[in-house]
């Protein structure tokens, strides 16, 4: 009997299609709805210690094959976020708490609060490419990464996932530093920008942003493959997944599960249901009982 259930990064999912961090997850009611409409789990937007408004709009710019965003990590601050998680938990599926900080202590404080809020796992955002002092700058320093992961693994009871940036010279070095995590989430957005020739200006108010969507799928696949080939760690693939074939490609490259973000622009919240249904058809047609049978099969 075909089953879409997967176990990944220390938790069990009814299906492998997870809502990616930063998309449709500011408001607890939205996360609840996304779960009800078919996602296997949701990751919250990345929450920091202090309240931040993020950048002024324009915060997104759309190309044919990509979105570039520079939201600027807007978030209500950790102490105000418990309420959203409480609302979202009526969705009765796992909620993963994403957190960002510039050092070990803040990560620990955030992780502890998330655990108190009742999330199923925390996802460390070691990779936001467009906010100075957070994310990428943290995430490209293997020593700091190792320290953060070690500390949180040692202190939290819930699983710890680490989300890594592709904007590094060697993804493998960073993955090795984070290998004690229960899962690696690959990848965050690719550092990018858009210029408007008519107004002779960068479009985003922050100038720089992170590219997501179709255009980064080849980068995400490469990172997943490169890491899974060398390290024995659960991987959650993310970057440009918009249909079941994309998801299969990530799974064959080494991902046990996957996240979806930008595809909701074109396909709406229904994308999770659609992909899991299509995966089920594929599994039936190809006599695959569990997706785990396909994890990493493309690696040589």
């Amino acid at each position: 009997m075909v089953s879409l259930a997967v176990r990944v990064g220390g938790i069990n999912l009814e299906n492998p299609a997870i809502l990616a961090s930063g998309i449709l997850d500011e408001n607890g009611y939205t996360m609840k709805r996304v779960l009800e409409e078919g996602a296997g789990a949701v990751v919250t937007k990345s929450i920091g210690v202090d309240e931040r408004n993020g950048y002024y709009p324009p915060v997104v710019v759309e190309g044919n094959s990509y979105l570039i965003n520079a939201m600027g990590l807007p978030n209500p601050g950790i102490e105000n976020y418990g309420e959203e998680i409480k609302i979202a938990s009526n969705g009765r599926k796992p909620i993963i708490g994403s957190i960002f900080a510039s050092g070990v202590d803040d990560f620990l404080r955030l992780g502890t609060s998330m655990e108190d809020f009742g999330v199923s796992a925390v996802e460390l955002n070691l990779s936001c490419p467009h906010v100075r002092g957070f994310g990428s700058e943290v995430g490209s320093d293997p020593v700091l990464v190792r320290d953060i992961v070690k500390t949180l693994k040692g202190s939290l009871k819930i699983p710890v996932w680490s989300k890594l940036s592709p904007n590094v010279s060697s993804i493998l070095d960073i993955a090795e530093a984070a290998v004690e995590s229960d899962a690696l989430v690959l990848i965050n957005t690719v550092r990018a920008m858009a210029i408007d020739a008519e107004t002779r200006m960068p479009v985003l108010s922050n100038a720089y942003g992170g590219m997501s969507g179709e255009a980064i799928k080849p980068v995400g696949l490469r990172c997943v493959y490169e890491v899974k080939k060398e390290l024995n760690v659960d991987i959650i693939g993310v970057g440009g997944i918009s249909n079941y074939t994309d998801a299969l490609e990530y799974i064959m490259a080494g991902a046990s599960s996957f996240q979806i973000g930008t595809a909701v622009i074109k396909s709406g919240r229904g994308v999770f249901k659609k992909i899991t249904e299509d995966l089920e058809v594929y599994m039936n047609n190809n006599s695959i009982e569990r997706l785990s049978q396909l994890v990493g099969v493309a690696i040589r």
Partner: protein, 248 residues
């Protein structure tokens, strides 16, 4: 894709509101909006307030971006993307438009011989597009009472029998929408409300505009009275720019 469009005509509607007309070869429906980029200042959602050969946005000066917008002149360019959002439905028969403040902008494309308008504003010189309704179908309500009825929008509603209309369209501050909603929900009448929640992306990904799991930018901005009835957040809570939940 950002569209760069020349302002063909500018209309000063009230001391704080101006309309900018431009040629744009896109099909736009009543109730839809665009995201207007004001380079160096910001990007703001604006209803399309005219959908003929010349399209139009009607801007009320509020913060930096909108203040900059109403200072633009004919021949200047505006930069926008869209159109976005679910339009109003357009049934046969007489319709009632209820607009508070700049909310009239999104209702303007519905004005016509079969439309009655309740036009509300704080001060009399802020009444918007009132003169575009037929004289006898125009109910003005102002807080200063210099023009029309003195009071709030509900006072205008007292002048009509809501069940006479095939549909009621409402746009304005959420508190006003809620008041209208409470007043008419018992009645046997179709109604659609255009919501304004803080928007950042306009394309259904950032969640800043959400209400009870619906993204106002793609699932709305227009919602039926039945849909609103299910929304516990309607008129009660919203999220700030940071995502912090506050009472409305």
């Amino acid at each position: 894709m950002i569209n760069h469009l020349k302002i063909e005509r500018k209309e000063v509607n009230t001391p704080t509101v101006s309309s900018l007309y431009f040629r744009w070869d896109r099909k736009v429906k009543p109730g839809q909006f665009v995201m207007v980029w004001v380079p160096g200042f910001g990007e703001v959602p604006m209803s399309i307030s005219s959908i003929g050969d010349l399209k139009c946005i009607t801007v009320k000066a509020y913060g930096d971006s909108t203040r900059k917008l109403i200072r633009l002149k004919e021949g200047d360019f505006i930069h926008l993307r869209g159109p976005y959002g679910r339009p109003f439905s357009e049934p046969e028969g007489d319709i009632l438009l209820i607009g508070g403040g700049s909310g009239m902008a999104s209702l303007r494309t519905l004005i016509g011989p079969r439309a009655t308008g309740i036009i509300a504003s704080r001060t009399s010189d802020e009444l918007l597009f009132s003169e575009e309704f037929e004289k006898e179908k125009r109910i003005e309500v102002t807080e200063d009472g210099i023009r029309g009825l003195k009071g709030l929008v509900l006072m205008g509603l007292d002048q009509v029998n809501v069940e006479d209309y095939s549909c009621i369209y409402v746009c304005g501050p959420e508190k006003m929408l809620k008041a209208v909603y409470e007043r008419i929900r018992g009645h046997k009448v179709r109604a659609e409300f255009s919501l304004e929640r803080s928007m950042k992306c306009g394309i259904g990904i950032c969640d800043s505009c959400s209400i009870n799991g619906y993204q106002v930018c793609v699932d709305g901005p227009t919602f039926s009275i039945e849909e609103l009835g299910e929304m516990t957040e309607f008129g009660t809570t919203k999220l700030l720019s940071s995502g912090r939940r506050v009472q409305i």
